[in-house]
Symmetry: C2
Subunit: 358 residues, 2 copies
């Protein structure tokens, strides 16, 4: 609700002085000191060509001496621009999202924007509140990776308010918004064909989750590729869960308990794959030698695992950067046609895949 979450009590002090008693320095103060108008000071500080060189220097010097600090809240109120990009993610503890966020922050900073961050796990109600609060800060636009199960409806208030919006990585069906992500179906195809090429026939899928588009698409890629190669689909080889380390561990154990064991597994993401590798060791088996594992994303640690993880590279750096760029363009051209940037993933073969043991 829009009326929730307002500041419960605001003990304003009147706001004119600082703790130590000095008056806070504003354009007004500088203008008075210099006997010019605030308009002139404002222009001078922004290096406007309208103001005389000499004036500009005097103003800038005094501002520096007095320790003036630009008040973006005030400016925003006037210009209706905050130079803030709102970012809503479900979890930044997941290195995939941390890498995306780092790229976004860096790109934003280069372009003079700052990041207002909100996270919400996979909780729809927390997402609802988080996005509402973000919006109240009037970011120029928002970059969102929606919680699983989000519907177009969750975003209707943002769209109604003409908030520039781009979806990152995950895509909500029926939402006509800019999107930056990966060709997830294709990524799984690459992974599966690699395994099939190695001779695997019974291949599990760990981390199926219909609530998020990335998992839906990866899972579809899995099913379709099996079919295309004439391999049977066995629901016992599919483990449904969020893509976490813990679930990778549980998932591998479950599919290893199937009578007719698989010889390989495709994982929804690298985290799931790491968990699966661990689970394999609990069973006295080793990824690569005894069982093949393919991850997805190629987060930093993937290359350092032992054995190093064969995975599908999703280019977080580029994805994060482009999403920020697309958002900034969307802000500049609100009426431009909707853009979909879909990056082509690449298979990175490392040590966790090998021909099946006879």
């Amino acid at each position: 609700m829009t009326t929730d979450g307002l500041p419960p009590e605001s003990n304003a002090t009147g706001g004119l002085r600082m703790g130590s008693g000095r008056a806070r320095v504003t354009l007004q103060i500088i203008a008075e000191q210099l006997a010019v108008s605030t308009a002139t000071v404002s222009l001078a500080l922004r290096n406007s060509p309208l103001v005389a060189e000499a004036t500009r220097l005097r103003v800038q010097q005094l501002a520096r001496e007095m320790g003036y600090s630009y008040n973006r809240s005030a400016a925003s109120l006037r210009t209706d621009r905050t130079n803030i990009l709102g970012v809503g993610f479900h979890d930044i503890t997941n290195p995939y999202f941390a890498e995306l966020l780092a790229a976004i922050e860096e790109t934003a900073a280069e372009r003079g924007r700052s990041i207002l961050l909100a996270t919400y796990g996979e909780k729809l109600d927390r997402q609802e509140r988080a996005l509402t609060t973000l919006k109240e800060y009037r970011p120029d636009g928002m970059l969102v990776c929606a919680a699983g199960g989000s519907t177009a409806e969750s975003f209707s208030h943002l769209i109604a308010a003409d908030m520039p919006l781009v979806q990152l990585s995950r895509e909500i069906p029926g939402l006509e918004l800019d999107f930056v992500g990966s060709d997830d179906r294709h990524g799984t195809e690459l992974a599966l064909e690699h395994l099939i090429g190695l001779g695997h026939r019974r291949i599990a899928f760990l981390g199926e989750n219909q609530l998020i588009s990335t998992s839906r698409n990866r899972y579809e890629g899995y099913c379709d590729t099996l079919a295309r190669h004439g391999l049977p689909f066995d629901p016992a080889l599919v483990y449904s869960a969020h893509g976490t380390r813990e679930n990778g561990l549980k998932g591998i154990q479950q599919v290893l308990d199937v009578a007719d064991q698989p010889t390989a597994a495709i994982c929804f993401n690298d985290l799931t794959a790491f968990g699966a590798m661990l689970g394999l060791r609990h069973r006295g088996r080793e990824a690569g030698a005894d069982f093949s594992i393919v991850g997805c994303d190629d987060v930093q640690e993937a290359a350092q695992w032992y054995p190093a993880l064969t995975t599908v590279r999703n280019f977080q750096e580029e994805m994060g950067r482009r999403s920020a760029e697309i958002l900034i363009r969307r802000i500049a051209e609100p009426a431009a046609p909707v853009r979909r940037i879909v990056l082509k993933p690449e298979l990175v073969v490392r040590g966790t895949t090998a021909p099946p043991k006879r």
Copy 2:
């Protein structure tokens, strides 16, 4: 400089209408519709007991119907409070910092605050700009993990402006500010004594870096503990570098090239330890069996490495949470005495440490 980084051009539209032509809904609009004053609407939306139940309900309902969204910029200008916490970190791709940030964000959200994020690598100039920009958004306070080599001077403008400030994890000498971090010396002591107890005598230190307090303290703990146990200090066993995966890999190779090889290494952080484990494999050796490694931090992946990493747990979740709480208290009581929260680390023995091979 304060005059840099102002918005280059602000193409304000006048700001009264939205793309689709509807007027943006403000307190004013609601007040007119209801033939009450904006003051009443403002109070009603904030559930003030001053306004009659019936009025409150009418106002809140109309606000909801009209899709009213609270404008925090405007409110901030008036109240001098933004409910924003500025967070400055060097790198969120490092899981240690990602875990801290996640805890901070969560705590902030619980307390009705939002996070404005800035990162700066270990670059002092970027940090300078980032902190200046953060400040311009007038956060109620800032949480900072300073770039290596930062001096008290870098923070003087924030302090002069009475910005509530808390240092996280790293501490800058000579700065009288709230601090939340770990007892890093003690952590290394635990690690080193564990190794000495196992029988190791030549123990390397990877990731020495005088520019950050965490490394200085951990290194001191190393030197002192060696001395206390009557073990010689050998500079050839110290590898100086930032605590990254890559440097762990390089560092282990370097100390392994010393004529009188060490049998174990203490690493500045887990990332360095992971790199070292990888470097060991490049030499055909395995952490645990052939060489002992101790990390520091206990990030999520540490438990999942193979072998699982023996490390010093630093309680990121608690540290992040407490730092946010301390900042919120500092904001409420600007004149309260400076607080130092130093958490006691704990040794977590796992698979990468064992008695030295004979």
